[in-house]
Symmetry: C2
Subunit: 401 residues, 2 copies
């Protein structure tokens, strides 16, 4: 999830951004894409399944990734398995790809970023591509811009680069996932997911119609990137939170300044943000930061574990679950729920109103607005899974299991 | 209602704006403030009632208006009524003021603009102030910035001015209310009116925290003001609609780019805007423009009467009334409802979905989201009412009737 937002391309074809951006990678224990790739001389074409459903690979974005990876393929030899593929064979061989997300797809939780990063990484491993994650990120970028950041763990920056061909517009890791291990992430998955503008068409409209976009990209973001890097390196949560929130709000402001206007946040997102703002201001120093991408879901980052439990108590107070099943309402790192002192629905119902709310508390309960919460933390980047029982393709048929 | 937005002061005390703005005055038949002022030697202090409820006049904004008007008072003599007040007496005499709005107060429908314009105009008449509406507008401005525009009818521009004391930061009429009589206005009064940031504190926060505000005020708005004036003078609805919508969206974008972010529009405002955008794009030329001020209510302006009936049919299709009482659901100029072929709740229920909606129409009905619609048109500015039976103060007691 980005904390300095990528919105607007300077090159549509190569997918080069108008400004640098910074993101944090979620712990794959709680949110990840798993991709299995297979090759066989009997495959007659490249095929792909997403969450079990076959989808077309004919789009430019997929073709870019397949072409660039094939161009870097090397000899593969595994004597124990009796496999031998020469470098030049890859051009003629077809692949099968199966990819699953363990979180909602196309809901503004960066599923396409995660997906393309995983796809490029998996294909690179299959074809014995020797390039490092930085070089691979430039390929993933041509699938989905923000995918370049998702190969790395921890905090990642997508640098602008200077080359015309985009070869140096790559992602670099700022710090790894263990560097700032105080941070706790809570994702509010919002119930109503209306049909939304896709981010690639949305950002094109913004570049073409917003009179604020260029000023933001040239004058505002570069300063924020420098400040944000400093804040991350110093684990300075107050600055981090201020910048993250300001960036979120400006990104959605720029979407609104588009013709036709793009509304990604809805009333529920607004309520969560107002709750966090009110709390932060009442404490005096930021306890949590918020950010949304191209959808209403809100990613909250808490200063530390204690702040996370206080945040979760506030969220559950305002957005109690609809059923008694608290276990499927707060998923991921369950320890935060335990630390918050919430074991069942009775505990939720007896949560006291947060002290910063002086108004009539009856106005501040919203059932049915949140689908569920995911508790997580910064995590590692793409990894190779070697346990064959986890493969998504059947080794006999080459089709999804 | 403004079509080029005033947001941000360059001088908090004198209420001088960071950019010029343009508004259209609503027809007072449908939306107006009525103010009665009275003077008597028995009044021991200045007092005011708003919608029948006494309120304090101690605020700086009221004091500014009272002081500036008193400083310009003249001799008043009415032999038939036996009244004689010398110029210098006004400093010692106290006034009673009673003011009513025939539309929702403090709901983003410019009730404070209308109120201060009416107050200054009424006091000026009482005290025989000779200054024209332009000069009076500089006084009304010191009550509420946008009030300066509401003294005039038709389309009105608030010019920047150059003087340090703000004396030339006044409102001028661009065209009167009859000049562009094709225009039809439909106001959607949105049901849920959450507690909102007042516009004066909101714009101060924006100036202090938004990194886009200054660029907007200096680079974007001046060009739009020139284009908008041209569009109004040429009755060029397409340009007018494009600029009005872009201004609305940028104003709310700037509010969002504030820390803490200000949300004036809600999901209902967004739905109305999306409906208009979809319709405009399907026709190819704009049929309606939309704009909101510091609240979720949406002011829609239709190209002509025919477009207005088509718009109203769309609005009623998406937002049917909750009760069978259509007469209190669409108020103001009832003829538009008649032209739209809607006489009763059955007519609303049998409205066909607009052709531009290809999606599942069941998703697009929202009951309870709109309180009512007001149909109106551009109207005249402040006028003196001479019918004493309409007075809001009892001539015997000097108290509200």
């Amino acid at each position: 999830m980005s904390v300095i937002k990528y919105w607007g391309k300077r090159d549509e074809k190569l997918i080069l951004a108008m400004n640098e951006s910074i993101s944090v990678t979620f712990d794959p224990t709680h949110l990840c894409t798993t991709t299995t790739v297979a090759v066989s001389p009997v495959f007659d074409r490249d095929r792909m399944w997403l969450n079990g459903k076959e989808m077309s690979l004919s789009g430019r974005r997929y073709q870019n990734c397949l072409r660039e990876i094939r161009a870097r393929a090397n000899d593969v030899e595994d004597e124990t398995k009796g496999i031998k593929i020469a470098k030049n064979d890859w051009e003629k061989l077809h692949v099968h790809i199966s990819s699953n997300n363990n979180f909602p797809t196309a809901a503004g939780l960066a599923s396409s970023a995660s997906g393309f990063a995983c796809l490029v990484f998996a294909l690179a491993k299959l074809m014995n591509v020797q390039e490092d994650n930085g070089k691979l990120s430039a390929i993933a970028r041509q699938g989905s811009g923000s995918a370049c950041r998702s190969l790395h763990g921890g905090f990642v920056k997508w640098v602008m680069g200077k080359e015309e061909d985009g070869s140096d517009s790559i992602a670099v890791q700022l710090v790894d996932e263990k560097y700032w291990d105080d941070l706790v992430i809570i994702i509010a998955v919002v119930s109503s997911q209306q049909k939304e503008t896709s981010s690639s068409s949305g950002m094109l409209q913004t570049v073409e119609t917003s009179t604020l976009m260029e000023y933001r990209a040239k004058e505002v973001v570069p300063k924020r990137v420098i400040e944000m890097e400093e804040a991350i390196k110093n684990r300075d949560f107050s600055t981090f939170a201020r910048l993250t929130c300001a960036e979120n709000n400006q990104f959605h402001a720029i979407c609104l300044d588009t013709s036709p206007p793009i509304f990604y946040m809805n009333d529920t997102s607004h309520r969560i943000i107002s709750c966090v703002e009110k709390w932060n201001r009442s404490v005096g120093t930021p306890q949590a930061a918020y950010t949304c991408d191209a959808g209403p879901n809100v990613v909250l980052m808490a200063r530390d574990r204690e702040a996370a439990t206080l945040l979760l108590r506030r969220l559950l107070f305002h957005f109690p679950p609809n059923s008694t099943d608290i276990d499927s309402y707060v998923v991921g790192d369950k320890l935060i729920l335990k630390d918050a002192g919430v074991q069942n629905i009775n505990d939720v119902e007896s949560l006291p109103p947060p002290p910063e709310i002086e108004d009539d508390v009856l106005n501040y309960k919203y059932k049915d607005e949140i689908r569920y919460f995911i508790c997580t933390r910064p995590g590692k980047g793409a990894v190779l899974l070697t346990d064959e029982s986890q493969a998504l393709l059947d080794p006999e048929t080459g089709l999804p299991k």
